[in-house]
Symmetry: C2
């Protein structure tokens, strides 16, 4: 006797994820119909023409087919003995550099069994050790002035999203458990909290003061949640911020630490845009926490920065000062390990890419100059494109965008919209009129009565320049006059 229609998990039913929601779905339809769509709804640099870093791909290619290492050496020696014209190849330099061959050999020897075997569930120890060294060097930590990163508390993950889910899923023990998230926020957090059946507690950085934080903003959000019976367990901070681009300074980071410490919260620090600061300084939470006992979960990824390797799904989670658990619950890191174990391990190519991200070519390596040139080129171009877009904003009536540039996004406030319409309508019409695909502010959360959109500053300049002039015309025709 067949039963009737199936009921599905209400948390998943109610979960929303705008970055892949109706606007990008409409964009896909328009593209299928022949329209030139410019995909600025997602931070996906290589889809918009950004070239991979040569160092990364050289080595990943060798690792997939280790027999190439010997062949490349034989070839380079052959080509040295041949007149260039005869070889039919333009130059020896097209082959893997000696530094790449050596790095490939090192990685293969440390992996032991190549990239086709499952690794430890946390990832291979040598990669976790390299991540720990990277964190300490980035933060200038020495034994005398801080706490070293512990490779046993590092997990290699499929992108940063997986690490965030592990932590949130473990922490949410009860439907009244809550996690503070900035509004606006990257919807991974709202979606994951909803998926795990917890309460999202929004806090609202001050847009008019450049999306800055202060204690009263945090305290207000926390007390109001506690008054409602919510047990707040952690605060998520996204720095540099997706979607606003705000970059926290030293004082902001310390403020969050003080707040979390006083209220017994853990910090979940999403730092995947740490290289996207364009001249400003990135202050890590790991550095600010120092020798303190404040629980900290930091996330990083190979997808952003100048790396842009979204498809490889590399990333890591560092746990620092794991929260003390109730008696009999064991250790937080062991619980995370159990979650990681059910997935067996993260993908090995993403693991190796994470190793390369934290192990750039040494300054005496024949790959160093090209790596630096590519890195600086990508970051400079991103900054220039952000500035181009900001300049167009000046020509759009009523639109406001705060001053600093960070991450890969601008998040302007739209001002007055036609009666009865929202930022969703604006973004949909913008897409249909100009081919520019953005995400409306509601997808990230925003203060009631304000309207925004997020644009990723990734397309090639000539594409951007062309669509920006169309956008200005669209905007000034669409929004009401003063």
């Amino acid at each position: 006797m067949p039963s009737g229609a199936m009921a599905v998990n209400p948390n998943i039913l109610e979960m929303e994820y705008a970055v892949r929601g109706p606007i990008p779905q409409r964009a896909a339809e328009l593209a299928a119909g022949g329209m030139q769509v410019i995909s600025c709804h997602i931070g996906n640099p290589q889809a918009l023409g950004q070239s991979p870093i040569y160092y990364y791909r050289q080595i990943l290619s060798l690792i997939e087919d280790p027999s190439r290492i010997g062949r490349e050496r034989a070839l380079k020696s052959l080509l040295k003995r041949l007149p260039q014209a005869e070889s039919g190849l333009s130059k020896e330099g097209e082959f893997s550099s000696e530094a790449a061959l050596e790095m490939g050999e090192t990685i293969l020897s440390r992996l032991g069994t190549g990239v086709g075997a499952y690794t430890e569930s946390k990832g291979p120890a040598f990669i976790r050790e390299a991540v720990a060294r990277y964190i300490d060097e980035r933060d200038g930590v020495t034994d005398s002035d801080g706490k070293r990163s512990d490779p046993e508390n590092i997990f290699l993950t499929n992108g940063a999203s997986e690490g965030a889910r592990f932590v949130i899923e473990t922490m949410l023990a009860d439907p009244k458990d809550g996690i503070m998230v900035p509004i606006p926020q990257y919807p991974l957090y709202s979606a994951t909290i909803r998926r795990c059946g917890g309460v999202q507690v929004g806090y609202f950085p001050d847009e008019d003061a450049g999306w800055t934080l202060n204690r009263s903003i945090l305290e207000e959000a926390l007390s109001s949640a506690r008054d409602g019976g919510v047990k707040v367990k952690a605060i998520v901070v996204i720095n540099p911020c997706n979607p606003t681009g705000a970059v926290l300074d030293d004082d902001d980071v310390k403020d969050v630490c003080t707040f979390a410490r006083e209220h017994g919260l853990a910090i979940i620090a999403d730092e995947v845009y740490q290289d996207n600061v364009y001249g400003a300084s990135f202050v890590s939470f790991a550095k600010a926490v120092g020798r303190d006992e404040l629980p900290l979960f930091s996330l990083h990824s190979t997808s952003k920065g100048f790396h842009g390797e979204c498809g490889h799904r590399g990333g890591y989670l560092e746990v620092r000062n794991p929260p003390r658990l109730e008696v009999g619950s064991g250790n937080f890191v062991d619980i995370l390990l159990k979650l990681a174990s059910v997935n067996l391990c993260s993908n090995t190519m993403g693991q190796v890419l994470t190793y390369l991200m934290v192990s750039p070519p040494k300054s005496d390596s024949d790959l160093h100059a090209r790596y630096i040139r590519e890195k600086e080129g990508v970051l400079r171009a991103l900054h220039e494109k952000a500035v181009m877009i900001r300049e167009s904003f000046e020509k759009m009536r009523g639109l406001f965008c705060f001053g600093r540039i960070g991450a890969m996004y601008l998040f302007p406030r739209l001002g007055k919209l036609p009666e009865g319409t929202t930022d969703f309508d604006y973004c949909m019409r913008l897409l249909e009129t100009t081919g520019l695909c953005t995400v409306n502010g509601a997808g990230f959360g925003q203060k009631t009565g304000t309207w925004h959109l997020r644009i990723a500053f990734l397309p090639p300049k000539e594409v951007l320049s062309n669509v920006l002039s169309k956008w200005i015309d669209f905007h000034n025709g669409y929004v009401p006059g003063e």
Copy 2:
């Protein structure tokens, strides 16, 4: 005011996953201490020396560094013009075959933006289309006698585990919702059901009849769960079975379909060992369901078979006849898409490997002969190693192992153990005495009062032969005499 110790998610706290539990952890300690450990606790072929399939790695290597395609062509033409001795390279054949270069170009052209960009959350359409063609060809489906696989209902996933989790997490709407799983089972299922807060409903294939199924076994498990107030939503079938190695025949598969249809259950078919049948026939659930409206979720992976690419985390989930949902809940496939979207996409190298798995070299390709030789070589060696182990079982007092060989595992019943000891004690002592790492039956579930272990038949023959003689001695010394 800091709060006290943190409470964590009780479902995760209670979740167990023996494949990465205390026995393999002890093995890691012993290996660190210098003991030669033989890792038969997990199906990880390349960790035990199985070579990757050349076709896969050639192309993956080219895809990571597309500039190699042009260089390889120039080189091959150069080497043709040089006397072999002068080149210093043994032969032209060491370079990528023309078929590999062409396949690399095809994949890059279909991807459009290389492997560094996020893809559609389900995976690129051309790969999903290739998976659908593979399924139809495997099952001999034509328009007249069955239902074609729909690429829109296929999700590329990080291994098969991710697909299983998506389905189970979506289905479990209530703490009284349950899913039937075979006992013994691969503990991904028990762990995921526990993690999602649902009820595991075990059914017990008949070990003495070669782990076969029959209707009364299924009916009994279902009625007993329903009597306990559990709403059973689906039945998991693992075929070929991990851990028992049992392979279902046509009648078994049809029986499960009839049972599921009559009781309104969905089927979750874990078919990751479909190539590991060693002369028997694999019958897919997709073929058995045919034009029926029975909801089916089928899983496959690049990790097993003769592929053995565990580290690349490639796989797919095919949904056939998605369950009808309650009014207002939309469509099951759309809900799965939302879950996939929060992860952005599965790793692209795993996606490409899945494409290669379902697109073997054509018979006129210069890669075909080598591919067939490697495929048959791996499968033949696996079978021979299973037979070697079974022959040793004959010499172990009281041990029983059913007749057929499937998947990558043998799952013998241990018979009488020393008073007060369990299969856990046996496996731990076996490890400490001989270096052989297995997983005890309790890790997979077993009938009360029976003891088993699972051994993966993967180590090289000489290693296996050496450890098997030690195992026989250990066993006959450890278990009580008649």
